[in-house]
């Protein structure tokens, strides 16, 4: 039997075709044979009945086909008259062509009207496997009790946040965004609201207003979702000073200057309930932020952004530190439970990022270097599990420097250095989590990631962590996959 080889078919398809040619007649033959013997007697009259039915069907279908062919002819004639450029705009002289009738853009035509306004929905799957030298549950940075959203992935395999993003325009003036991750922490599964905001689209004079819960726009990394990070975790300054990222409920205003150079000024007033704020001080208007951003291009291959931001909060009973293990029995030796701060917190952040890509052809090759410096003063009192309330007024600082290089599509390599330092908080805090170590906490991280497309990523990361009580070697493997609508990333 000749094998018809199509130019576009690979060997697999040809083989399948061969198989089908033998298999299908074979199956049919087998079915017929299996039903043949018992029916021989009745077949004669039944065959006649079937024959006449078949003849009827055939006549019916032939009539229908003739009708369809006629309609097709008419439709083709009509199409030929309407569009002179016919199908696929073939070569033609100018005298003969008439311009295309513009066609409206084919928006996603959905079944019934109710689904037509469905929002854009995307889900991001994350998971990881980590190996630590020391138990990650015991991790703490002396002098910097960790709070907010900071928690290290468990040892071994674990599921990360499943991030659900839903967004759409509300009407002609407002647009809305929801990020609601499904989070599994200490065996408990819950759905959190990371961002749920509505933003204006049509305010004049370069203004915009955002209300609801949002990531604060201080710092460079604060408003970047976890799946967009260049490393599996955030720098130490973010963990120590912002609880990984500061998001709170309130109002944000941004103004974009009408200048050639980029200048954005913004301010936020928020409830002040999330780390590093806490307790919704000042009757629920507990914290405010200010930020200024500028940036530009240098030629076609370089672009940069720099910013300054400031956060101030009135804190009431903010819990941090203490680890996550409940049956930790070192509490007799140190004040190792959670510590509670009340007072004022001031945070200043300077950020800088420089991106290079030959001719700006980002996907092919690029290099990013960024650094942020943070300075914090906390002025109030810490209540410790055993020592009670102690006055605390201390300056702390920290910074990180990070570089990521993509030498060819899909592969990226990164290195990062973290450092923290703290002023001496006072003798009262000796042997407490507020007492910094002799050596400044620091950490070295390197990573390599592979992205098959912009929707999938696998990452290998190694960290030498000298910020905890003991040095720690940490190795992790991480995956990030996204389906559905995927929002555009910021600079």
């Amino acid at each position: 039997m000749p094998v018809i080889e199509a130019m576009t078919d690979g060997p697999k398809t040809i083989f399948m075709e061969k198989v089908m040619r033998f298999l299908i007649p074979g199956i049919i033959w087998a079915c017929l044979m299996s039903t043949a013997p018992p029916l021989l007697a009745q077949q004669q009259t039944e065959i006649d009945i079937l024959r006449s039915e078949l003849a009827e069907m055939r006549a019916d279908y032939e009539a229908r086909i003739a009708l369809l062919e006629q309609r097709l002819d008419e439709a083709e004639k009509k199409a030929g008259e309407q569009t002179a450029s016919s199908d696929e705009q073939t070569v033609q002289t100018v005298a003969q062509s008439t311009p295309w009738q513009p066609e409206p853009s084919t928006s996603q035509v959905r079944g019934d009207g109710n689904s037509a306004f469905n929002p854009a929905i995307g889900v991001i799957f994350q998971g990881q496997a980590w190996a630590y030298e020391n138990d990650p549950e015991d991790y703490q940075i002396p002098g910097f009790p960790l709070g907010g959203h900071v928690h290290r992935p468990e040892e071994g395999f674990s599921l990360g946040e499943i991030e659900i993003n839903i967004s759409a325009n509300v009407d002609d003036k407002f647009t809305a965004w929801l990020t609601a991750p499904i989070v599994i922490e200490e065996g408990e599964t819950g759905i959190e609201v990371e961002e749920a905001w509505v933003e204006t689209m049509t305010l004049p004079a370069g203004l915009s207003l955002r209300m609801g819960r949002f990531y604060s726009s201080i710092g460079y990394l604060n408003d970047k979702h976890q799946h967009a990070w260049d490393f599996a975790d955030n720098p130490l300054v973010y963990q120590a000073f912002l609880g990984n990222h500061y998001n709170d409920d309130g109002l944000q205003a941004r103004w974009l200057a009408p200048t050639d150079f980029y200048l954005e000024l913004g301010a936020e007033i928020t409830r002040g309930d999330q780390y590093p704020a806490g307790g919704a001080g000042n009757s629920g208007f507990g914290s405010y932020t200010l930020h200024a951003l500028t940036g530009g291009d240098v030629g076609t291959s370089h672009s940069w952004q720099a910013g300054l931001s400031y956060l101030q909060a009135e804190v009431e009973d903010r819990e941090s530190g203490g680890g996550h293990d409940h049956d930790h029995d070192h509490e007799e030796e140190h004040d190792n439970g959670p510590v509670v701060f009340s007072g004022d917190t001031d945070l200043l952040i300077a950020e800088f990022v420089w991106k290079w890509s030959p001719n700006g052809n980002w996907r092919q090759r690029n290099f990013v270097i960024q650094a942020e410096y943070m300075w914090r003063n906390e002025d109030g009192s810490y209540t410790l599990p055993e020592s009670g309330s102690l006055p605390y007024d201390t300056d702390q600082q920290g910074w990180y420097l990070q570089a990521v290089y993509q030498p060819f599509p899909r592969w990226r390599f990164g290195a990062r250095y973290d450092r923290l330092s703290s002023d001496y908080p006072g003798d009262a805090f000796i042997d407490t989590p507020l007492m910094p170590a002799q050596n400044n906490p620091r950490r070295y991280s390197i990573m390599a990631d592979w992205s098959n497309s912009e929707f999938s990523r696998l990452r290998l990361q190694y960290m030498l962590d000298k910020a905890g009580i003991e040095d720690d070697n940490q190795v992790g493997l991480q995956y990030i996959f996204s389906i559905g609508a995927h929002g555009a990333h910021s600079f």
């Binding site: 070569v91 513009p102 370069g206 150079f261 940036g295 530009g296 980002w362 929707f455 600079f491």
Partner: protein, 303 residues
């Protein structure tokens, strides 16, 4: 002190005193069309240049500030810019160019789109459900978009409406003459078979009657893989099975050159938009250069 305040105010207000219409184009071809129609009355800028893959650029500060002051935004659309334009729009705080308003023009809406996907499934690669967005490689499309652009410009800037209509007319006459020239010169290209790096050339192929027989990418958006290139070598190893291997300036030359070397099929780099090659300095020379390179492919494999 007073002088400083005055100077700062002047600095901030100066851009507002400019009476030209600001046109922000996502791609250089639309900026070029806007220049043809608007002449001295418009100030155009392009978010991307011809040496960048317009799917993937950074939504960087310089673009945000340009977009902030735009009166008209012209982009190819069909989700070509979906990776960065929404972020620019969100940060740009410019109600005049909100999608759906007069100041927002999606060029691909005005032409017949090819490759409209029946299903949007990413296992098929980076498919554009609304059709192939690289509409600028067919000069008839450019004229259709120019017409739409001139109408919008007249609507937004009524004072100069007459000048825009004249600009469009002058462009239309020169353009249709040029198209006739190109079609005559390219008559011999009809039926030639093309291997393209990515499906960036479907409108060019439809216009000139070229047949795209394969792409170097296994599926759209995934860089050429060794396995897929091996398959192509098997299929096109016999000389004469294809006539060109074409790619845009921002697409890596490695795969094209590898296949060209082993099959004898000439690799040609074609500009995908104005500025893509040294010769393609404006809209007219852009198509001149494409046809010249297809007619004499030798010497244009690398630049």
């Amino acid at each position: 002190m007073k002088n400083i305040i005055f100077a700062i105010t002047l600095l901030l207000v100066a851009p507002l005193l400019n009476a030209d219409m600001n046109i922000f184009a996502c791609e250089p071809e639309w900026a070029a069309v806007a220049d043809e129609i608007g002449g001295d009355h418009v100030k155009t800028s392009s978010a991307t240049n011809a040496l960048q893959d317009p799917h993937y650029i950074q939504a960087r500060p310089s673009l945000i500030s340009k977009l902030r002051r735009a009166d008209l935004l012209v982009c190819s659309g069909a989700q070509l810019e979906i990776g960065w334009l929404p972020m620019l729009l969100r940060k740009g705080n410019n109600p005049a160019i909100k999608p759906g308003s007069t100041g927002y023009l999606e060029a691909s809406q005005y032409v017949k789109r090819l490759d409209v996907a029946l299903s949007s499934d990413r296992s098929q690669g980076d498919v554009h459900p609304q059709g192939n967005p690289h509409i600028q490689t067919n000069p008839h499309n450019i004229l259709l978009v120019a017409q739409a652009m001139a109408e919008r410009m007249a609507q937004l800037d009524a004072d100069n409406a007459e000048s825009y209509r004249q600009g469009l007319e002058s462009f239309r006459q020169r353009w249709t003459t040029a198209i006739q020239g190109w079609e005559n010169r390219a008559a011999g290209l009809k039926g030639k078979r093309v291997i393209a790096h990515h499906r960036s050339w479907v409108y060019l192929e439809a216009w000139l009657g070229l047949e795209e027989v394969a792409t170097l990418e296994p599926v759209p958006g995934i860089p050429p893989t060794a396995g897929h290139l091996g398959d192509l070598l098997d299929r096109f190893g016999d000389s004469g099975a294809a006539d060109f291997i074409i790619r845009a300036p921002f697409q890596s030359e490695k795969a094209s050159l590898w296949l060209a070397e082993r099959t004898g099929i000439p690799a040609v780099m074609l500009p995908l938009t104005v500025g893509g090659t040294e010769q393609a300095t404006d809209l007219f020379k852009f198509f001149d250069d494409i046809i010249h390179r297809l007619l004499s492919p030798e010497g244009h494999s690398k630049n």
